[in-house]
Every structure is written in structure tokens, then in C-alpha cells.
């Protein structure tokens, strides 16, 4: 019987018992393949939706198409699968840092369906974040099925996300770097290998099913020195645009929160607005890869003004779609806005410096994408590798590095946290491994309790109490009601020191007269960071902990430091 069920627990197999690396690599590969399939499925359904709705776009009422799609998608999320809106990546990051990567099984398809409805009907959003979410959910649930521990599960979540990104862009390194830089936030050898394997698996799936095509291929660019110099200016532009998109999205979100309408109606309002906008600037509809392709190939015909307008219109359309409850990510819109900014910047350069032999506008569109991704995600490496891979343009690597890192740095001055992290940081939920917040959130009060305190009844005389001091190892004595066992107060050794040798007082004073009833207490389940804040503000070194009004132990800074150090060492040890 034991042998029969043991296949569910591969960590117990003799091969993997000592070292789980091989196990992680194998399961990472499986997760990568599955998330690659998920990405392919979403891609195909999007193509189908777009084709299906294409014939209706010419009608005057076409602007309600995005409204319908967004409303359906938000109805599906809120009523059918009971999940909140949002693009999914912050949720994955939070699950990784707080719950050891636990993600619900339904998340593996919910976002795929809802984003397909939103984007397929013309909403301005990207399919990447939903695919990352579903890849991560696939990894998490496979890990749960095989009873992996938290660390292994987090790695598999990373594998899922990496497989998804790699598959959707046909870009294995970008998938790997994105996961390490954005999702996990740590670079450890134990993680890198399985995630790299998953990236390869995801890429291979997409190549097998869709062919090995570079998403945005182009002619060779010949970069000169003045182009590299001009990058600095483009970095400022992309940083500016990404700050605008971040803020506008959040404003839209707040505005929609304040509006008293059903969720689906809000999404419909956003969708309608996008549809109307699409009448005037058709480039804003959908994920927008088509226009990127045009720009990189250098066949985008409109002038600078139109490019600038399209750029802002895309920002507005994305905020309207996502801020009002549509489902999807910001990856694809970021690429579109980035390439529009690059294009507009190029037109600007050519207009004002016509004699300089600037490299083609496609190259600037490409650099704009890298700058925008680097800026809005504050993940310069992801920007660099993604653009290199999706354009196959290694020759632009020098300006790419400069623009990506410059843009990320400039953005940092305006927005201290990236778009994905901002909400998490505001809620105090960004818990990167090895940080103070993470250590404190992992430690719980129950691990720090000192239980060797002696409780005393309030009616005890000072004489008896002094006798008790000789047997105690602590300086604090909780006073408990003898009947209800409720905590009444605390006697501190320091408080009674002056009367300790005055035997006259021994029978005249009782414990209830010397106890401190206004002592700051911690609750059993309270967050450690809150407890520490109280200790710091009141200058305390230890505090009694109560559960259900009863004393359970003391918590002290000395024990905390001891445990904190051990926890930090265990969390940050590499290798």
C-alpha cells in the first residue's frame, strides 16, 4: 500500500531524498511545458476572437464591443471563479513572499478566459500577465500535488512564470530574468537552474506549435555614437511616459472605486470609452503587436503628431481598460507605448537635426520599448533581454543597456516602487527574502514566547512574594485572577526593589498593590512588527503576551534578536 501511494510524494523517493535539485529540474520542465501550452492556448484564442470580431468592427456600434468583452470578463471573474480583478503579477509576487507560493488551482485558467474576453474584444491590455498568473498557478498546484515544501513550491511557481513569458515571446532568457528580477527577487543557484530549464521548455513548446519566429524581426541597424548619445533623451521620454501610465492607471482605479456601479458596469464603461477612442486612433485597440511590427519594420507612415497622439491615446486606453475592471496585463501596452515614444522621438530628432545620419526609426521604436519596460517595471535587465530576444537585434545592445538602466533610474525618482510592487509596498506586503519585513513576518510570537514566568494571585502578601523571587529566574511576574485565570497586571522586579529589604512591609503590602495594571500587552496572533513598534515607542524590552485575556508568556527583545539572527541566516544562506 505504501509503495502504491508513494508516487505522489517524490521527495521520498530514494533518488531525490538527499538532494532535490534533480527533482526540481524535472518538475520545472513539466511546469514549463504546461505553461507554454497555456500561453499558446491564449494566443490562439486571441487570434480567433480578433478574427471572429473583425467583420463587425466596421459598424458604427463597434465601440460597444470592448465594453461587452470587459463586462463579460469582469462578470466571469467576480461571479464564476470569484476572483478579484487586477492583472495577476502582484498577486503572484505576494503569494510567493507570504504564502510560500500557494495559488488557487482556478487561477490557472481564470485569467486566461477573462483576459481573452477583454483583449479579444478590443480592450487595450496585454496577454502576458494572465499567462504568467496561470503558469505560476500551474507550478504551484503541481508542487502541492506532489507535497513539495515551500521553497520547492516557490521555485516551481517561478518555473511556471518563466515558461509562460518564454513561450509567449519566444524569449527564454527574458523569461528567466523576468522571474528572478520581478517575481522572486532573489538570485540563487538552486532557483536559477530549474527556472532556466522551464524557460527552455516553454520556448520549445511555442516553437514546436507556432514555429520559431522572432516576434518583431527587422533589418540590421548600424548604430553610431550619436545614436547612443541620443538615447539619454529617449530614456527621459520613456521614463516620463511610464510614470504617466503608472499614475493614470492608479487614478482610474481610484475613480472606478468611488463610482457606485456594479463591477461589470464599470468594466463596460471603461470598455466603451476605449471603443470610442479606437474610432479616432485605431492603434490603441487590442494588445497592439501589429502596430509594433509596423514601427520596427519602419513602415509606419503617420507623422510625429499622430505618433505622439497615439502614444498618449494608448496610455489612456490602457488605463481605461485596466483601471475600470478589464482583465489583462501591462506588458504589451508598455511595448506599444514604448515603441510609439521611440518613433515620435526619432521623428523629432530628424525634424530638428536633419543633417545627422540617424539610424532607422525602427531602431528607436525598439529602444523605446526597452526604456519603457525598464522604467515601468523598474527591471532594467528584463527590458534589455526581452528586447534583444524579441527583435533578434543584438547589434543594438549598447544603447539598449543605456536606455533601459537610465529609464529605470529616472523612474525611481518619481515612483520609488515599480508598477507591480506599488500596491504591495503601500499595504506592507512586499516581503523580499532576507529583508527585515520578511524575517519579522515569518517569525511568530509563539516562537519567541518565554514561558518560565511564575504567575501570582493578587492576594499574595509581599512576604510570600519575596520568597517566590528566590525561586524565579525572571524579573516579571504576571498577576492572574485565581478563578477566571484572567491577566490582571504585571509585577516588575524593579518596581519592588526599594521595599525588598524592608521587612516591616512584608505583611502590610499585597501583590495587587504593587502590580502595574496599565502595562502594554501583545496579543498572541499579533504581527511581530506591530509588537516591536509598541516596544520601541514605549521604550520597553519585554511585554506580556495574552491569548483570550489569559497570560501565555513574555516576549523580549533579547530572545527576538537571538531568533531574528538565526532566521536571517537561514533565509539568506546561499548554496
Amino acid at each position: 500500500m505504501k509503495r502504491f501511494i508513494s508516487w505522489r510524494v517524490p521527495t521520498k523517493w530514494p533518488v531525490f531524498r538527499l538532494d532535490d535539485r534533480l527533482l526540481l529540474i524535472i518538475s520545472g520542465m513539466i511546469v514549463g511545458i504546461l505553461s507554454g501550452l497555456a500561453a499558446f492556448a491564449l494566443n490562439r484564442s486571441l487570434v480567433f476572437c480578433l478574427d471572429f470580431l473583425h467583420s463587425y468592427r466596421a459598424y458604427w456600434w463597434a465601440f460597444i464591443l470592448p465594453a461587452g468583452g470587459a463586462a463579460l470578463s469582469s462578470l466571469f471573474l467576480s461571479r464564476v471563479v470569484n476572483e478579484g480583478a487586477g492583472h495577476g503579477i502582484p498577486e503572484v509576487i505576494y503569494a510567493v513572499s507570504r504564502y510560500g507560493g500557494l495559488i488557487r488551482l482556478r487561477s490557472s485558467f481564470s485569467r486566461l478566459v477573462s483576459s481573452c474576453l477583454t483583449i479579444g474584444s478590443g480592450g487595450s491590455a496585454g496577454p502576458e500577465a494572465p499567462v504568467v498568473m496561470s503558469g505560476a498557478a500551474i507550478g504551484s498546484n503541481i508542487a502541492r500535488f506532489f507535497s513539495f515544501n515551500d521553497r520547492q513550491r516557490v521555485t516551481l511557481v517561478g518555473c511556471g512564470a518563466a515558461g509562460a513569458i518564454s513561450s509567449i515571446f519566444n524569449a527564454p532568457i527574458a523569461g528567466l530574468v523576468f522571474v528572478l528580477e520581478v517575481i522572486l527577487g532573489e538570485w540563487s543557484t538552486v532557483n536559477i537552474v530549474p527556472i532556466a530549464v522551464a524557460s527552455v521548455a516553454g520556448t520549445e513548446v511555442s516553437r514546436l506549435l507556432a514555429g520559431n519566429q522572432i516576434a518583431f524581426s527587422h533589418h540590421t541597424f548600424h548604430i553610431s555614437f550619436h545614436d547612443i548619445l541620443a538615447c539619454a533623451g529617449l530614456a527621459v521620454v520613456t521614463a516620463f511616459m511610464s510614470v504617466i501610465l503608472t499614475r493614470l492607471l492608479r487614478h482610474m482605479h481610484h475613480a472606478s472605486d468611488k463610482t457606485k456601479l456594479p463591477i461589470w458596469a464599470k468594466a463596460a464603461v471603461g470598455g466603451c470609452a476605449v471603443g470610442l477612442l479606437g474610432f479616432f486612433v485605431p492603434d490603441v485597440m487590442g494588445e497592439g503587436y501589429h502596430s509594433i511590427r509596423n514601427m520596427i519594420e519602419g513602415v509606419y507612415e503617420q507623422g510625429m503628431t499622430i505618433a505622439v497622439v497615439a502614444c498618449f491615446a494608448k496610455v489612456l486606453a490602457t488605463s481605461l481598460t485596466l483601471g475600470w475592471g478589464g482583465s489583462g496585463g501591462i506588458f504589451a501596452p508598455s511595448l506599444v507605448v514604448g515603441s510609439f515614444s521611440g518613433l515620435a522621438y526619432h521623428r523629432f530628432l530628424v525634424y530638428f537635426f536633419p543633417s545627422v545620419p540617424w539610424v532607422g526609426e525602427g531602431c528607436y521604436a525598439l529602444l523605446g520599448m526597452a526604456g519603457f519596460i525598464g522604467g515601468i517595471l523598474q527591471a532594467p535587465l528584463t527590458g534589455i533581454f526581452l528586447i534583444v530576444e524579441i527583435t533578434g537585434g543584438y547589434e543594438v545592445i549598447l544603447p539598449l543597456i543605456i536606455i533601459s538602466s537610465l529609464s529605470a533610474t529616472i523612474c525611481y525618482y518619481f515612483e520609488s516602487a515599480s508598477f507591480y510592487m506599488k500596491d504591495l509596498v503601500e499595504r506592507g506586503q512586499l516581503l523580499r527574502p532576507g529583508t527585515d519585513a520578511r524575517v519579522l513576518s515569518d517569525l511568530s510570537i509563539s516562537e519567541l514566547l518565554e514561558k518560565d514566568c511564575i504567575s501570582v494571585p493578587p492576594s499574595m502578601s509581599l512576604r510570600e512574594f519575596v520568597g517566590l523571587i528566590t525561586r524565579s529566574r525572571r524579573n516579571y511576574f504576571p498577576v492572574e485572577d485565581p478563578e477566571t485565570k484572567e491577566f490582571l497586571g504585571l509585577v516588575k522586579f524593579d518596581d519592588i526593589r526599594p521595599y525588598l529589604f524592608n521587612s516591616m512591609m512584608y505583611d502590610a503590602v499585597f501583590v495587587e498593590q504593587i502590580m502595574d495594571t496599565h502595562v502594554a500587552v501583545a496579543r498572541y496572533g499579533e504581527d511581530l512588527s506591530d509588537v516591536l513598534r509598541i516596544m520601541d515607542s514605549r521604550g520597553l524590552f519585554s511585554m506580556p503576551v495574552l491569548a483570550n485575556k489569559r497570560f501565555v508568556g513574555m516576549i523580549s527583545k533579547a530572545t527576538l534578536l537571538d531568533q531574528y539572527r538565526k532566521e536571517l541566516m537561514v533565509q539568506t544562506y546561499q548554496g
Partner: protein, 227 residues
């Protein structure tokens, strides 16, 4: 090997919850099956060393400790033994005689102990009044660690010990302890006994070993009860 979770936590000197969480989070090379942990001893020892965590696998932690520092007063008194008619007219002579009575001591140790006792006597008298003195060295004797002993000497002649109450001394308790904590422990116990006036008066005439030990046993029982 297999250990209960609580036992493993004890070996690592960590709270139970921490060990449980670390196993769940995969931060420790151990696996949980039910309430038990399965691990490779070598791997876990290596892990503990790397993370600066003390790992002491006390396999014999079920067996009681061989020698308890805080051995009772009675045992120490029995080890030191009762000695009657100890001669000497001065403090130095009496101490020399008392030291020669101590069982199982080599000559070197005896002379070292005597020097230390005299040194201590020079500082202040160990005559604590009521005709009793408790000579002892200021620090534990170097060399081989021996269990604590108290040598009870009934003096033939009463000696002027320069005691605090100026009474001449007829009984000496020579206290020799391996550690300071044992010394304090035995000192506090013996002073508890000497607070009892009837016991002190009975010491004026030499008691038989049985009588003496019985009284001490009674005192110790009282002390245990008070705890």
C-alpha cells in the same frame, strides 16, 4: 534517523514552532512524517554548523546526570566525615589538624588547602558566632575536580577564633567545593541549620554521627518543603 519533532527542537535549542516552520518552508534538510522528523544526521550537523546553530544530539538524555553540582548538604557532610577531639591551641594549629583529617587528599593538596584556608582567615575570621567556625578557601582548589565535602571537626580545646560575637569556637565546618555555585549552595544550607539555636547548643558537646546526620536530614527536608 528519526526523532520526535519536539526532541529535534530540543537538540537544536530552537522553539518547536520554528523547527516545524523551517521544515515546511524547506529551509532545513529534514522531512516530517506525522509528528516525527526524518533526517540524515551528518547532513543536519553540517547544516547546523553552516548556519551557526548548535546541534547537540544527546542520545543518553533519558539517563539521569551522573553528578549533580547541587548535591545535598547531607552528602557533603558524610563525605567530609565527623572528627572528634581535634587538637590545637591556635587557629593555625586547629586548621592544620582539621586539614589532616580530610579523607582522600594527597599531601600536596592538604598543604595547598591549608595555605588557602589561612589566607582566608587573615582576611576576616570565619568564626560566625555561637561557637561555630566555617573555614573555607576563597576559590575552588585547582587540579582534579572532587565532589564537594564538608569536614566537621569537634575541637578538644575551645579556641579564640576572633569570631564576631567574641565567643570561643568549639566546632569547625571546613567547606571544600569544586565550584562557586556549590559553595554558595552549601553555605546557605549550613547557615540555615545554624540559625536553629537548639541545634547549635547540641553541637557544644560532640554528637554521634547517627544523631548528627539525622538532624541534618531533618533540616534538609524542611528546606525542600519550603521550596
Amino acid at each position: 534517523m528519526k526523532l520526535e519533532l519536539a526532541e529535534l527542537a530540543e537538540c537544536l535549542h530552537l522553539p518547536l514552532y520554528t523547527v516545524e516552520r523551517w521544515i515546511r518552508q524547506g529551509r532545513m534538510p529534514a522531512r516530517k512524517t506525522g509528528s516525527q522528523c526524518v533526517f540524515k544526521r551528518v547532513v543536519l550537523e553540517k547544516w547546523a554548523e553552516k548556519h551557526d546553530i548548535t546541534f547537540t544530539l544527546n542520545e543518553d538524555h533519558a539517563t539521569p546526570k551522573g553528578h549533580d553540582d547541587k548535591d545535598g548538604l547531607l552528602a557533603a557532610l558524610k563525605r567530609g566525615g565527623l572528627h572528634y577531639n581535634v587538637t590545637g591551641d591556635s587557629v593555625d594549629e586547629a586548621l592544620q589538624q582539621a586539614v589532616s583529617c580530610i579523607p582522600d587528599f594527597s599531601d600536596d593538596e592538604r598543604s595547598l588547602l591549608l595555605t588557602k584556608l589561612l589566607e582566608r582567615e587573615k582576611l576576616t575570621s570565619t568564626g560566625i558566632g555561637k561557637g561555630v567556625a566555617i573555614p573555607h578557601p576563597r576559590s575552588p582548589l585547582p587540579g582534579k575536580e572532587r565532589p564537594a565535602l564538608i569536614c566537621t571537626c569537634f575541637l578538644k580545646n575551645k579556641i579564640d577564633f576572633k569570631a564576631i560575637d567574641d565567643k570561643t569556637v568549639s566546632v569547625m565546618f571546613v567547606i571544600v567545593c569544586p565550584t562557586v555555585t556549590t559553595h554558595l549552595h552549601l553555605l546557605s544550607r549550613i547557615s540555615y541549620c545554624l540559625r536553629n539555636d537548639s541545634f547549635v547548643t547540641s553541637l557544644n558537646k560532640p554528637l554521634s554521627p547517627d544523631e548528627f546526620f539525622q538532624k541534618i536530614e531533618e533540616f534538609e527536608e524542611q528546606l525542600e518543603k519550603a521550596r
